[in-house]
């Protein structure tokens, strides 16, 4: 199920500003890759290019190549809608669909994609809710509105919702920025569980989090990829001076 991704000379422009500058990034399969860097360094812009969330946004231009496995994601055969079923995303703020129940939030997309038959919906629902450790908390109120959950639960619901589509890669854009420490801890534990089956890319401004959950880390500064590699190596023995300055807290 898990797939690798890599970018070649990837640039993202917001109007005339170049937010991501010629980035070559390797994302290993069935592992967690963390993207760190000071705010405004382009890490979210990079992440959102990976499932073409910039498409159709006025003023944003993406240049360069991005591969999912062996396939270039801007190729004719790959439209953004199809791509996003393979490369899912979890956002900074929990964003369950407000007008839907917990159950509908999870089953809506698989049903639209024709991935699941009517009778199997409940199985899928239970499976992804168990994966995100929500099942026991919500199994008696699946028809309640998603907004009735706490924000930590909502974020796990958003993860379950993304998993229900069966993606090979899951992109997470500062998924714990809006959560309290307990809820953060639960999400991190989940990430650790999930990486057996799925490739995960997580953007975070929190270096401790990157060190805790990721196998590989990429350090971005001013749109450039300064350094990337094994997390442990990068944090203990950075090759670049700039990286060392950032992780020891001298800037950013």
């Amino acid at each position: 199920m898990a797939e690798t991704m890599r970018t070649r000379a990837l640039r993202v422009f917001f109007g005339d500003t170049e937010a991501v500058k010629a980035v070559d990034l390797e994302i290993h399969s069935a592992a967690v890759t963390a993207i760190i860097g000071p705010s405004g360094c382009g890490k979210s812009a990079l992440l959102r290019a990976l499932n073409r969330m910039h498409d159709g946004v006025r003023g944003v231009r993406v240049v360069g190549r991005i591969y999912l496995g062996d396939r270039e994601i801007h190729d004719g055969g790959m439209d953004p809608v199809l791509l996003r079923t393979q490369v899912g995303m979890v956002f900074q703020r929990p964003n369950p669909f407000p007008a839907m129940s917990i159950r509908q939030n999870v089953t809506f997309a698989p049903r639209r994609h024709g991935m699941v038959r009517k009778g199997e919906e409940s199985n899928l629902l239970e499976q992804v809710l168990r994966k995100t450790a929500l099942w026991d908390e919500v199994k008696d109120r699946l028809h309640h509105p998603a907004a009735s959950l706490s924000s930590g639960q909502q974020q796990r619901l958003c993860m379950a919702r993304a998993l229900a589509v069966g993606p090979q890669v899951l992109l997470m854009d500062e998924p714990t920025a809006a959560l309290d420490p307990t809820a953060t801890q639960r999400i991190e534990a989940l990430i650790y569980e999930l990486k057996r089956d799925i490739t995960i890319v997580i953007v975070t401004h929190n270096m401790q989090q990157a060190a805790r959950v990721s196998d590989r880390t990429a350090f971005l500064d001013d749109g450039r990829l300064v350094e990337s590699g094994e997390t442990e190596r990068l944090f203990t023995n950075p090759a670049e001076e700039r990286t060392e300055a950032y992780i020891t807290g001298r800037f950013g």
Partner: protein, 270 residues
């Protein structure tokens, strides 16, 4: 300074309250079932009951035509109309919302009365449709724009298409606001008088328009020289105000039941 503001407040509300009071006091005295059935019958224009029916027909046509058109335009402009057509449609809607309503009446008169002959209910319905569409479209745009961006992104990130995202994810969130907006817009056309005056009410050359409506009936009674008709005009006005208030109240109920994500308040206790 607060005194001055309060003064302004009272100065404005005093006559407005007086107006409401006059409606209830004088109108209430004349309002009865009997009044609807019979009332003073204007030559050729029928009873108050027929006026209510006429209003219902005219407003019904406008709602049936205008709501789908208005909602459709609103959805198109906010969600799909990134090109010139979408931007133009928005500008036109804004301009059209400020169109003097009597002009809608004249245009409908010219377009429909002269082509379909002297049948007035469709012309009046068309005139009110012209007024309703931009109002509904603008309310729909507002409601859709109030849906947070991350709801859309969530749907797109699941690989849902744009149409599915708009119709099945965004629209259900905006729906209460859209319905509330439709009710307000309907309240506005229920009381529109001027466009009806030049479509339904035309008495040109002795031929009499076949329908009476509530607002034109009020006007006809108000400007008549018979003093006894003043009370009846107020009774009609009371009916009209009741209809508009009801629509407003229901609209407010729908809006407050699910608070809009944009609702912001200022500190008052500081």
């Amino acid at each position: 300074m607060i005194t001055l503001c309060t003064g302004a407040f009272v100065m404005a509300l005093l006559p407005l309250g007086w107006l409401l009071l006059e409606g209830v006091r004088v109108g209430g005295r004349h309002l009865s079932w009997d009044f609807l059935a019979a009332g003073a019958v204007l030559p050729g224009l029928g009873s108050w009951g027929s006026a209510v029916a006429g209003s219902a027909a005219v407003v019904g046509i406008a709602v049936a035509l205008g709501v789908p058109l208005g909602v459709g335009t609103g959805v198109y402009v906010t969600e799909f109309g990134r090109g010139l057509l979408g931007r133009m449609a928005r500008v036109v809607c804004e301009a059209l919302a400020g169109l003097p309503s009597i002009l809608a009446g004249i245009a409908a008169y010219g377009l429909i009365m002269t082509t379909l002959g002297r049948f007035s209910v469709p012309a009046a319905g068309a005139a009110l449709t012209v007024i309703l569409v931009p109002l509904v479209a603008l309310r729909t745009m507002e409601a859709l724009e109030a849906v947070p961006r991350d709801v859309r992104e969530a749907a797109l990130a699941l690989g849902l298409g744009e149409t599915t995202t708009v119709l099945q994810v965004v629209m259900p969130v905006a729906l209460p606001q859209v319905v509330a907006g439709i009710l307000l817009a309907t309240g506005r056309i229920v009381g529109e008088t001027a466009p009806l005056l030049v479509t339904v009410f035309v008495v040109g050359g002795g031929a009499v328009g076949p329908a009476a409506t509530l607002p034109t009936h009020i006007y006809a009674h108000a400007v008549s020289p018979l003093p006894s008709w003043e009370g009846e005009a107020w009774a009609g006005a009371l009916l009209l105000m009741a209809a508009v208030s009801t629509l407003h109240a229901v609209s407010a109920l729908i809006r407050t039941r699910r608070p809009s994500p944009r609702s912001h308040r200022l500190p008052t206790g500081v």
